[in-house]
C-alpha cells in the first residue's frame, strides 16, 4: 500500500491507516491524521525532507520517516 512519503507533488489521497501505537502515532492522530481524512502534497523542503501537506483545513509539515507510516489510497492529481 502507498504511504504519504511516496506521494508526488500535488497528489491527493485518503488516509487508510497509521502504523504503530507510540507517541509519534498519537501525535499524528491528534493533529487529525486519521483514517478517512484527505491529504494533498503541497511541497518539499530544499533537501526533500520534510514535506508539506494539506490536511483538513490547514497545512502540516512532517518528516519522511513519519510520512512513511501513514498508508493512503490515491485519489487524483500528479505533478503540477
Amino acid at each position: 500500500m502507498l504511504s504519504v512519503a511516496q506521494l508526488q507533488l500535488g497528489q491527493r489521497a485518503v488516509i487508510a491507516a497509521i502504523q504503530g501505537e507510540d507517541v509519534v502515532c498519537q501525535r499524528l492522530l491528534e493533529m487529525g491524521v486519521c483514517e478517512g481524512a484527505e491529504v494533498e502534497v503541497l511541497g518539499f523542503s530544499p533537501f526533500g525532507d520534510p514535506l508539506e501537506i494539506r490536511l483538513r483545513d490547514y497545512r502540516l509539515s512532517l518528516r519522511r520517516s513519519e510520512a512513511a507510516r501513514i498508508s493512503v489510497r490515491l485519489l487524483t492529481g500528479g505533478s503540477r
Binding site: D22, Q26, M31, G32, Y58
Partner: protein, 744 residues
Amino acid sequence: MTAIEAVRPRLQSRVVALIGNPNTGKTTLFNALARMRQRVGNYSGVTVEIKKGRMTFDGKSFEIIDLPGTYSLAPRSPDEMVAVDLILGQQPGEPRPDVVVSIVDASNLERNLYLTTQVMELGIPLVLALNMTDVADGQGLQIDAARLENQLGIRVVPIQANKGKGLERLKKAIDEAVDCPPPMRAAPAFPEPFEREEAAFGARLGGRWPPFLIRRLLLDIGGYTEKRLATDQMNGLREELQSARLRLASAGCKVPEIEARTRYGWIRQMSAHCVRRPERRPITWTDRLDHVLTHKIWGTAFFLALMMLVFQTIFAWAVPLMDLLKFGKEWLGELLRGSLPAGPLASLAVDGVLEGVGSVLVFLPQIMLLFAFIAIMEDCGYMARAAFLMDKIMAGCGLSGKSFIPMLSSVACAVPGIMASRVIENRRDRLATILVAPLMSCSARLPVYTLMIGAFLTSGYPGWVPGLTLFAMYLIGLLVAPLIALLLKRTILRGETPVFVMEMPVYKRPSLRTVLRRVLDSGWAFVRRAGTFILASMVLIWALLYFPREDEQGQSYDLQIAKLRGDLSNLKQNTKFENDDAKNAIEDAAQAIEKTIAQIDGEWKRNSYLGRIGHTLEPVVKPLGWDWKIGMAALASFPAREVVVGTMGIIYNMGKVDSGNIRDLEQVGATPLAKALQEDKVFTVPVALSLMIFFALCCQCTSTLAVIRRETNSWRWPLFTFGYMTVLAYLGALLVYQVGNGLS
C-alpha cells in the same frame, strides 16, 4: 443567588483559564483581555511559563491564566501536565478555574475542536472563542455560530482578537458562564467497551483520580498519567492496564487510535451542520506566499538573506547601543569614584556593583533586538517555514529545524540564543539546544582570540595565518556543538524520538502590540531573573580580587593608587607650558606615575585571594602550559570571558585593558599588553593556542549560566553545562598544548 455564589465571597475574583492550539491568536486575546498587571507563574520542575493577568467586567474582577498552547491534553511531560493539573485544580497553590475559554481558529475548525472536546470532559463551564473569522471568510468558509452553539451545548462567541472585535461579548459570556453547569452532555461519547473499561478502572482506583485522568491513563501509552500511576501505591495496576488495552484492541477500540476516531468522527458529524464550504477552495495569500517562501531556491535565498540580517543586527548593530551603555557605566563610575572616599565602599560600588549592573544591562540590546525578530517571525507565521527549511540540516545532530535560530543567535551571544530556544516545544530538543548553545563561538570570545592571535600568530607568519586561526576557532564551536548535541540526545536526553509534526500557520500581519510586549517581556525577564545572579558573581569576584587590600608594610593599595591618581590629575591640569621641555618633563612624570599605578595594581591583584587561589591551582593548569598568572586570569573571567583580557592587563602591570578596544588584529600585536605577553617566557605559541581552545570550549560566563537556570527552572542544568564545558575545555587545551609542545 446560586449555590456556588453563596459559597464564594463576592469580592474574590473569578479565575478564567485560556486554552487553545498554537497559532490561534491566544496570546493576542490574552493581551487584549488582560491589559493590566500581567505576571508570570512558575512551578517547580516545569520549564514552561504560565502568564496571568487581570480583567474587569461589570465591576467584577477576573484573573486570567494563559495556558501554554497545545494541540491536545494528552500529557507526556511535567510541562504538559501543568495545564491539566491547573484546570483540574490539582496544581498546588492554584485555585481551580471557574471558567475555561477555549480559543479556536475558525479557518481550521476541525482540528481546533479536537482540544475543545477534551476540555469539555474536564467538568468545567466552557466558552468557545471563535477567532480569526476573517481568515475563514477569506477561505470561503461560512460558519453558523448559533448552530455551532446549539450543537456543542456551550456558548460560542465569534471574535477577531487582533482587531479587538467581539471582546465585550466574550467577557459577558465568561461572566455568565461562571455559574453555568459544565457541558458534560455534549462531549463525544466513546464506544461502549471503552467506557466500561474506564468505569472499571475508576472503581479500581477508588475514586481517587478524576474521570479525565482515568481516560488519559487508558489512552496515553507511556504518558504522564502512567508515570503517576507508578508512584501511586497500588500493585499490579500496570498489568491490569496492559490487559485492559489488549481487550480494547480486540473489541475494535485500539488505543490510541480510538480517541482520534471518536473525536474527529464526532467533530465531522457536528460541523457538517454548521460549516459551509465552497465548491472549490479559493487560492489564498498563504498559498501564494508559501509557494515562494518554501521554494527550494527562492525560499532558501530569502531565508539566508533574512538570517544574515538577523545576525548582522545582533552582531553589529547592537554594538552602538552596547557602547552607549558602556559609556554611561564609565561616566557614572568616574562620578562615583570622584564623590566617594577611596576605600572598600567606593571600590565595591564602582568595580563590583556598577560593573555588575553594567554587565547585565549590556546584554539588553542584543536580547531585545533578537526577540523583536523572533516575535515578528512567529507572529506572522514565518517561523514554521524557517524550521521547515532547516530541519534536514539540524536533524543530522538529533535536533529539529526549530533549533536553528537559537543556535545561529548564539554565534553572536548565547544569552539571547538560549532565550530564543523557547520556540522549541519538545522538552528534550529544547534542553539539548540550551546545553550546546554556549559552545557556539560568541562575540565575547573575540577579544581573547584577537589578543592571542595578535600577540603570537601575526608577526613572522604568512598573512593568512591569523585569519585562518580565527576561522578555526569559530569552526570548533560549529563542529563540537552538533557532536555534543548528538551525544546528549543519545545519553542523558535519550527518549522517544521527538515528533517533527508541525503546523504551517496562515500568514498574517504581525501585531505591533504582541511584538512589543514580547520584546519588553524578554528584556525584563532577563534583568529580573538572571540579573541578580550575574550581579552576585561579579561582586564575589570583585571581593576575591580586592582583599586583602594591604601590602606587606600594611599600607592599603587602593589608598596608594588614589593618591597617585590625585597627583596625576594635578599634573594634567597644568596645561600652560613655558616651553616644549617643560611639557615633555610633565608628560614623562605623568607616564612614570601611570607606570607606578599599574605596578601597584598588579602587585595588589597578584596578592589577592584570587591570586593565591591561582597559585594553589598552578599544578592543575600546568599541564595546559599555563602558569599561575594565566590560571588566575582564567578564574577571574568566571563572570564573563572577555574579562580575561582586562585581568591579564592588570596582572601584567599594564593597567586595565579595555577588551572592547582589542578588535583589530593588525594593531593588537603592538599594544603594551601583547608586548608584555610576548616577553613572558611562559607564553609560547602552544600556550596561546591552549588558552584560545580553553576559552572556545569553556563556559566562563555567568550570564549564560544564569539564563540557563532561568529557562530550565533548575540549578541542575547550569551546573551540568558548566561542568561538561569546563572538562571539555580542559581536555581540549591539554591536547593542543601537549601536541603543540611536542611538535615545536
